[in-house]
């Protein structure tokens, strides 16, 4: 109510004050303007009277000023400054200034005096003096004052009456609302409700307030339940859990934590959490903890060592996360610690085993390489050294056969022939063995190989050594491959020779050479219509000196396919064969497609 009264009265006072100020400042200006106009008219009317020295007429002209009651005196001075005529007529001359002052206006003791020139035809004839009573102005201000006072008092009474009436409607609901708010604030009792006694907006306000209380009440209950859930989950968790304040002290720890560390809950709460961290792991953990508090990260996970109360070291997987308030200020941290000592021990064991195994493999590989080298060197030297006596046997047998043929009978000649044949056979064997042995030492010189051309070329070469045999080759276009051309040529030589050799019993040898892509490889196949073999012995096909046919049936040393296998293996491929007795055989070898020369080939 006081506010309403204060507001209305200050508004009124302000309005009246500005009105007053305006009146005061414009009034003087207003009077001067009036006086100036009035004076100018009178002066103009006086020109003829002054010119013709007619003071009666001048007096008459001045007499017209009685229309303005506030003009107390008026005097007309002639050119010489003598009073020529005056108003009011009856007044003594002593009431007037002896002579005219300078033109202009002056305000003194309740009167405004003005001196105005009387001019005609650019000639100054005299001066008009007028004295104006300004007390009227103050009289008017006084009456304004009375009106303002009356209006203010009346407004205050009206405002008082109105606010008294409104108080019941406005204040009471507010007072009731205030009481409820106090009860809530002081007792933290969110179950109280404000009584709904107002009307209009107050009903809405009170309902909104009560609704807010209900929400807070519900929110609090949910918060308590949530806290209870969290506490229960934490307490019964098999994982060691703890709440850590921002200063690093334990706020709470669960049973699992106590069991892991060997301390009781009472021993831990209030203590700094890093007293159980191994000194060597402490620095890293504190670094992370600081970053957590600084807001750079929201959680961190470390594998570190903790110390049991007994002094025993425990390996743990520590996961620490932070809870922040709405302003992202840290409130507390949650640490979840898992004992990983067993895992650590197993890992250590596995690591040791692996290392040992690795060591062993390296040693074996090394030994194997040594042995392999020795074997190769041995076989080479053996083969080489075996050739000399063989040449001697063959040479002397030939000399004996040529020089002493007449001394030998037919049987002797035959035996010598057998000796020579066997020696030559053995020589070839040794040559092949040497070739095979050289194969493993030869440096690979890979480049793009035109397989179709190579196969065709090799076939011509093979065919030329068997002129009496009727051979037909069916050569499909073969995909090119990256490899050592000399070695790949050897593969074709061996396989095509075999195909020709084992089909020589046929009236016409039919040989098919083809290829197909398969799983990143090309599989090349050489098929013949020869005698074939029993698949039961297929595992012996590619062994050194392994033969499925006698030398009498088909000549050979049993090294060719072994060489094929070794070359294909060195190129990263495989070799195998299908066959049936008397129904021909097919040999396959595969080579990997992947080659840096392939794209060059495509262009």
């Amino acid at each position: 109510m006081t506010i309403i009264l204060l507001t209305s009265s200050s508004v009124l006072l302000l309005t009246c004050a500005s009105f007053f100020a305006y009146e005061y400042f414009t009034f003087k200006q207003h009077i001067i303007e009036n006086l100036s106009t009035l004076g100018a008219i009178t002066a103009n009317n006086s020109t003829a009277a002054l010119t013709f020295n007619n003071s009666e007429d001048a007096t008459e002209v001045l007499g017209a000023l009685e229309a303005e009651p506030h003009i107390k005196l008026a005097g007309l001075y002639d050119q010489d400054g003598k009073l020529f005529a005056h108003y009011p007529e009856g007044l003594s001359m002593d009431a007037f200034p002896v002579g005219p002052a300078n033109d202009g206006y002056s305000l003194t003791s309740g009167y405004l005096s003005s001196y105005q020139p009387v001019v005609h035809e650019h000639k100054r004839l005299g001066t008009l003096y007028i004295k104006f009573d300004t007390s009227a102005m103050y009289k008017r201000f006084r009456s304004y004052g009375y009106i303002v006072a009356a209006v203010v008092v009346a407004s205050l009474i009206l405002a008082f009456a109105l606010s008294n009436g409104f108080q019941r409607q406005i204040s009471e609901p507010i007072v009731a609302l205030t009481k409820t708010a106090k009860a809530v604030a002081v007792d933290e009792d969110y179950s109280v409700r404000a009584p709904n006694i107002g009307t209009g907006e107050f009903v809405v306000l009170t309902e909104a307030f009560n609704q807010m209380l209900t929400r807070i009440h519900d929110g609090n209950r949910e918060l308590r339940q949530s806290e209870e859930r969290f506490r229960s989950a934490m307490e019964h968790s098999p994982i060691s859990m703890s709440l850590i304040a921002t200063d690093g002290t334990w706020l709470d720890v669960n049973q699992a934590k106590c069991e892991m560390t060997g301390y009781t809950r009472e021993e831990m709460i209030g203590q700094i959490f890093y007293k159980i961290i191994h000194p060597d792991d402490l620095f890293v953990n504190l670094q992370h903890f600081q970053r957590l508090l600084d807001g750079e990260i929201d959680s961190y996970r470390l594998e570190e060592r903790h110390l049991h109360k007994s002094g025993q070291v425990i390996w743990v997987d520590a996961n620490v996360s932070i809870v922040r308030d709405d302003n992202r200020m840290p409130v507390y941290c949650i640490a979840q610690i898992q004992d990983i000592s067993h895992r650590k021990r197993d890992e250590e064991l596995l690591r040791n085993l692996n290392a040992e195994l690795e060591q062993r493999v390296q040693e074996r590989t090394h030994k194997l390489k040594e042995a392999n080298k020795e074997l190769e060197a041995f076989s080479y030297s053996v083969s080489h050294d075996l050739r000399a006596p063989l040449r001697a046997i063959d040479g002397f047998s030939r000399i004996l056969l040529e020089d002493n043929a007449d001394k030998l009978d037919e049987d002797g000649k035959r035996v010598l022939g057998v000796i020579r044949s066997n020696t030559q056979n053995m020589g070839r064997l040794i040559d092949d063995l040497l070739a095979f042995s050289r194969l493993s030492r030869k440096q690979m010189e890979p480049c793009l190989v035109n397989m179709t051309e190579l196969a065709s070329d090799v076939f011509q070469q093979v065919k030329s050594s068997c002129v009496d045999q009727n051979i037909h080759l069916n050569l499909a276009p073969l995909p090119n491959i990256e490899g050592d051309p000399a070695l790949i040529r050897q593969v074709f030589v061996n396989l095509l020779s075999n195909a020709v050799k084992y089909s020589k019993t046929r009236s016409e040898s039919l040989i098919d050479v083809s290829a197909r892509p398969e799983n990143g490889e090309y599989v090349y196949s050489i098929k013949d219509n020869g005698v074939g073999f029993d698949m039961a012995y297929s595992n012996k096909l590619f062994g050194v000196f392994q033969r499925l046919h006698s030398v009498e049936q088909f000549e050979g040393t049993g090294v060719g396919l072994a060489i094929v296998q070794r070359i294909v293996h060195r190129h990263g491929g495989r070799v195998w064969a299908n066959a049936k007795i008397d129904e021909g055989a097919t040999f396959h070898f595969s080579l990997p497609k992947e080659s840096k020369y392939e794209s060059a080939n495509d262009e």
Partner: protein
């Protein structure tokens, strides 16, 4: 003589008259043209009035040959002003026109004139003169003994003061507009 009848101070003896003349001469000598501040001769005052009338009268446009044409003040007949009128008009201007003084012996001599003082010497022919000048836009002035109508301004004496009467009908006939301020005094 009518000359002595309208003096500011009633002089009845020639002695006094001589003294007055001496005083006026002295005052003129010592104070130059400030005729108002010193006791003035009747015709000195009338000379000033004659000139001042011109300031309160508007002539028809055709009364002047051009915008700079002089305002002519004339005296018809025997000149009673002596040197007063010459002194009064010396260097004066009315409505930005120079003022010239002309003296006429007869009406026939009047060519262009704006204010004409008709001397007492012409009083016998006044009617004839007025009739011939009536519509010529001339402000006619005369001493007021004669009661003849047709003259626009007549000087009269009231007590020791010189006043004048204005015949506004005659002014209208002459196509002159006289300021209401001057009319108030007539």
């Amino acid at each position: 003589m009518a000359f002595s009848k309208t003096l500011r101070t009633k002089a009845t003896s020639s002695c006094m008259k001589g003294l007055t003349a001496c005083l006026i001469a002295a005052s003129v000598l010592f104070s130059g043209e400030q005729v108002w501040s010193a006791p003035a001769d009747e015709y000195q005052v009338k000379a000033a009035f004659l000139f001042n009338f011109a300031k309160f009268v508007e002539w028809p446009r055709n009364a002047f040959s051009d915008a700079n044409a002089p305002l002519v003040i004339g005296v018809l007949g025997q000149d009673p002003f002596g040197s007063y009128l010459d002194n009064t008009l010396q260097g004066e201007r009315v409505a930005n026109r120079p003022v010239t003084l002309e003296r006429y012996r007869s009406v026939a001599e009047i060519k262009r004139c704006h204010v004409l003082f008709i001397s007492r010497s012409e009083s016998g022919r006044l009617n004839q003169i007025v009739n011939s000048l009536r519509y010529r836009g001339i402000l006619t002035v005369t001493d007021g003994d004669a009661n003849q109508s047709g003259v626009i301004i007549r000087f009269v004496s009231e007590g020791n003061k010189i006043r004048f009467h204005i015949d506004s009908d005659a002014a209208k006939a002459a196509n002159l507009v006289i300021s209401s301020r001057l009319l108030r005094l007539g």
